[in-house]
Symmetry: C2
Subunit: 183 residues, 2 copies
DNA sequence: CCCATATGAGACACGAACGTCCCACTCCGC
DNA sequence: GCGGAGTGGGACGTTCGTGTCTCATATGGG
């Protein structure tokens, strides 16, 4: 008994990553519990998505912390970040898509905090001459999210090998963001 | 009278780009027509999305044609493609997202045809030594779609100036795909 | 062993969106 | 001016997901 809330969230994340329109019933069955029990722990779909948001924010924040973005070259920091964020990629891309559906009323303030950290990282990289200055930090941040989502999707559909996930993202994003010599 | 089917599709695309969950009623009002009339021209939501798919495929295909990808350097071809695809960016990113919701049963064959063209373009660029060979054509194709979507979204939320749309995408994607000298 | 707590299954009402239909109105061609 | 086609508004039934509730069952601690 005594349901493992964390495990339910994990399976919900795994399911919603694949099928973002999954029913509460499907979420419950995927977690191996009854729909009633699911409702007992999460007031409704909004509450469930909210809990997933908190989870995703925590994971992303942890990845940011563990990446120690400011240690050494910015390029290496970014590589560590991508590697650290890989396990959460599916969940994060689901949450990004979910957020886009909102009418911008009440967005979880956690996202703005994370956006600010990522954006600030790119800006520092620019100031240190490691990143191109003609691509704005805000755009690099959004592009990072987009590439994470695209790559997670490509892995899911078999277009990209799972083991290549970090490499594909880092090489594509970094190649563009890195100051190249002929510029 | 005699409803302009094309115009209805345009306004539906514009609305669904911003709010992909918009109701048939909202779509109708956005087009300035009644819900009944909308249903007379499109059997249902599926038919409407299907018509939008055809429209998006036509536009993307036209962009591919007009870009003349094989004329001159691959880089220039890509620049022309991005510029040509800009007006359709919102619609295309909506359709890509929409397609991901499908359980992969019956996808419009148009997409595979377009995927093949884009993918082949990247492959030729690789063979001619203009693109890196460690990033697969399939991934470059998906990344292109993802960046188009991210940039369209960034423009909509004001994070990226509309006039910078082609530049931001091309520079980021190309920088990564382009063989850089220090490699 | 017994009881409290949590669960699963199902029933129920509610709301949203859909798809269909009808009716009055308007606009156009004849 | 007249008739018909096209349109808008609204009503209706249906479906689907949601949220709440009840009840029987199982599990685990005292």
């Amino acid at each position: 008994m005594t349901l493992d809330r964390e495990q339910v969230l994990r399976s919900a994340a795994a399911l919603l990553t694949r099928k973002s329109t999954a029913t509460m019933d499907e979420v419950a069955r995927a977690a191996g519990i009854g729909r009633a029990t699911l409702h007992r722990h999460f007031a409704g779909r909004d509450a469930l998505v909210g809990a997933l948001e908190d989870l995703g924010i925590r994971e992303f924040e942890a990845a940011l912390d563990s990446a120690a973005l400011d240690d050494g070259a910015a390029e290496e920091g970014l590589r560590r970040l991508i590697a650290a964020v890989e396990p959460s990629a599916g969940l994060l891309s689901f949450l990004v898509t979910e957020n886009q559906l909102f009418e911008g009323d009440d967005v979880n303030e956690g996202w703005s905090r994370l956006d600010a950290r990522v954006s600030a990282f790119f800006r520092r990289g620019q100031e240190r001459g490691e990143f191109r200055i003609d691509l704005t930090p805000a755009w690099l941040t959004e592009a990072l999210y987009g590439l994470i989502g695209s790559c997670a999707w490509s892995v899911q559909t078999g277009r990209v090998a799972a083991q290549d996930f970090p490499y594909m993202i880092v090489e594509l994003l970094l190649g563009g963001a890195r100051r190249s010599v002929e510029k």
